[in-house]
């Protein structure tokens, strides 16, 4: 369980994070979504005490991070897979974590196996690792203390499609065992397939939060017809929003209502479904548009 309460971080006159409030619940994967520079990494660094907050509180498992007696045993953290001494081997980096947390030495090999780093790869220096291998090593470091909470900043960066699939299954399994997962991404598709709950941040502010299904519902319905303009007109007539897109219409009406309207108007439907997938992406762009960094660069 992570509780973030009204977190604010100012750098001189610049507010990087403003009154950020959300929760990450046990047994669920919480996706922290936002464009680059929105404040995701700053928020996560404050969570684990690397950056002091200007105002607000964070508690993890009921305590401030700094008050955890052995943080690695309770919170697994991966903020930047490249932030390692390039001259150490992967195995050495895991060994340092294992010794600091005082877990059995066998955990090092268990974790190497879990993240599919071979004996040979674990003996190489990190400067010779690909980004994907660094991410795997970072995940291994986060999991070695058998924590209850995972805090991961862009963990899928640099992973190949098979690696992304692996990571998704791993995090799902972790949450199913009762763990709390908070992971950030600027890639919508990545988060859409794994997260149960979503927190969307733009320019340092939370712009949307809720379960994935709630947020997808808000994204409405997509219906395709041979003549989308007629369908759009009929929907508008019936008092729904209607926006022509991708050879069809996107509307806030639920699929049943769209079907009734189409039937009454005599419009044949070729496709009718909740506007997920592309829907979340549109929502994300929509929600963050006003707060996107390039637009407020002044």
């Amino acid at each position: 369980m992570i509780i973030v309460d009204s977190l604010t971080k100012k750098y001189g006159g610049f507010t990087a994070v403003a009154h950020v409030t959300f929760r990450a619940e046990p047994g669920r994967v919480t996706g922290f979504l936002g464009p680059n520079g929105a404040g995701k990494s700053t928020t996560m660094r404050i969570l684990v005490g690397l950056t002091p907050a200007s105002a607000g509180d964070v508690t993890l498992l009921g305590r401030r991070y700094a008050d955890l007696p052995n943080p690695g045993r309770e919170i697994g953290v991966l903020l930047d897979a490249s932030a390692q001494h390039a001259g150490r081997t992967g195995r050495e980096i895991l060994t340092l974590a294992q010794r600091t947390m005082r877990v059995p030495r066998s955990r090092v090999d268990e974790m190497l196996e879990l993240v599919s780093l071979t004996e040979d790869e674990s003996g190489r220096r990190v400067k010779d690792y690909s980004l994907g291998m660094r991410q795997r090593l970072g995940i291994a470091t986060a999991l070695i203390g058998d924590p209850e909470v995972l805090v991961l900043d862009e963990p899928a960066n640099g992973l190949d499609p098979a690696g992304i699939r692996w990571m998704r299954d791993l995090l799902r399994g972790f949450a199913n065992q009762g763990g709390t997962v908070l992971l950030s991404s600027h890639l919508l598709h990545e988060i859409e397939v794994i997260a149960d709950d979503l927190v969307v941040i733009g320019n340092g502010r939370i712009v949307a939060a809720g379960t994935k299904s709630e947020l997808l519902e808000a994204a409405g319905t997509f219906a395709a017809a041979p003549d989308p303009a007629v369908l759009a007109a009929a929907l508008t007539e019936a008092g729904h929003s209607a926006e022509q897109a991708l050879g069809g219409v996107r509307t806030d009406a639920d699929p049943a209502a769209v079907g009734r309207v189409a039937l009454a108007a005599g419009v044949p439907l070729t496709e009718l479904r909740p506007a997920d997938g592309a829907g979340l992406e549109e929502m994300f762009l929509e929600l963050t548009k006003d707060n996107a960094r390039e637009e407020v660069a002044a």
């Binding site: 005490g49 690397l50 950056t51 700094a66 007696p69 932030a83 340092l96 010794r99 005082r102 399994g173």
Partner: protein, 271 residues
């Protein structure tokens, strides 16, 4: 790298997982990890290996080139001590700056959020390595002295008093503290090493030139120049006034910058 297999996350045995309360990490653990970090990179390993190698080579050089009357313990210890005096502060610098220059601190300070603890462990590691290296130097020097005088058939001379040894060890430890302080202040390996060599080679030269040309500075130098006082320690025999000068300059050049650097390190963002 095989990505096909998806494995369950192996959990620790139930006996290892007391989810109620974990024991705090003891200081000896942090110390042990920091000591390991001084050796486990190529740069750290070769630096320490170079210090040991320089000691052996210096002993060999004294054996090979010194005249019979120069085969004294003082000369052996000095030959070994000089490369060590120069290299040991670099060990101190790298122990601190790696966390920032290599960004390893992201992991270090997440696993041990109390940064002061990590810094204390690094300081303890630095001084431990320093003392161990100097013990090694004195040991190798003694061995060289015995073997050398034995080979040449001259009397073995033990002309280094215990108090001189204490002065030398003290001066070397001060040098390491200067390196440590520069590491804390700059948090950058290259910057700290350049700063250290400026302190060690450039500053004393400038100070010496100034003292030679300006008589007022010659009188003031012991009260303002810390490296001057540090160098005097190698000759030993400090008077009360010497100690006062040492303490005055040490406070200004070492303790105050160190305190300022620590104050910043404990508050700064780790990125």
């Amino acid at each position: 790298m095989s990505t096909a297999a998806v494995m369950e996350n192996p959990r620790l045995a139930e006996s290892e997982r007391s989810h109620t309360e974990h024991a705090p990490i003891p200081f000896r653990t942090v110390f042990g990890v920091e000591l390991r970090k001084a050796f486990d990179t190529r740069s750290g390993f070769w630096l320490l290996a170079a210090i040991a190698a320089a000691g052996v080579i210096a002993t060999g050089a004294v054996l090979a080139f010194a005249s019979d009357s120069d085969l004294t313990y003082d000369n052996f210890a000095a030959a070994i001590g000089v490369p060590m005096t120069i290299l040991l502060p670099v060990v101190a610098i790298l122990a601190v700056t790696g966390e920032w220059s290599q960004r390893a601190g992201l992991t270090t300070f997440t696993l041990v959020p109390d940064r002061a603890r990590v810094i204390r462990a690094k300081l303890a590691v630095t001084l431990t390595i320093g003392l161990a290296s100097m013990a090694l130097a004195l040991g190798v020097g003694a061995l060289g002295n015995v073997i050398g005088t034995g080979l040449k058939g001259v009397d073995t001379t033990w002309d280094l008093s215990f108090s001189s040894i204490l002065y030398i060890v003290g001066a070397d430890l001060i040098g390491m503290l200067v390196g440590f302080t520069l590491g804390i202040l700059t948090r950058n390996s290259a910057g700290a090493i350049v700063g250290y060599f400026s302190y060690w080679f450039v500053l004393p030269t400038l100070s010496m030139v100034l003292a030679a040309n300006q008589s007022w500075f010659e009188k003031a130098q012991p009260w303002v120049d810390f490296s001057f006082n540090q160098n005097r320690m190698y000759d030993g025999g400090f008077s009360g006034q010497d100690w006062a000068q040492f303490a005055t300059t040490g406070t200004a050049w070492l303790l105050l910058p160190l305190a300022f650097g620590l104050w910043r390190v404990l508050r700064a963002e780790v990125k």
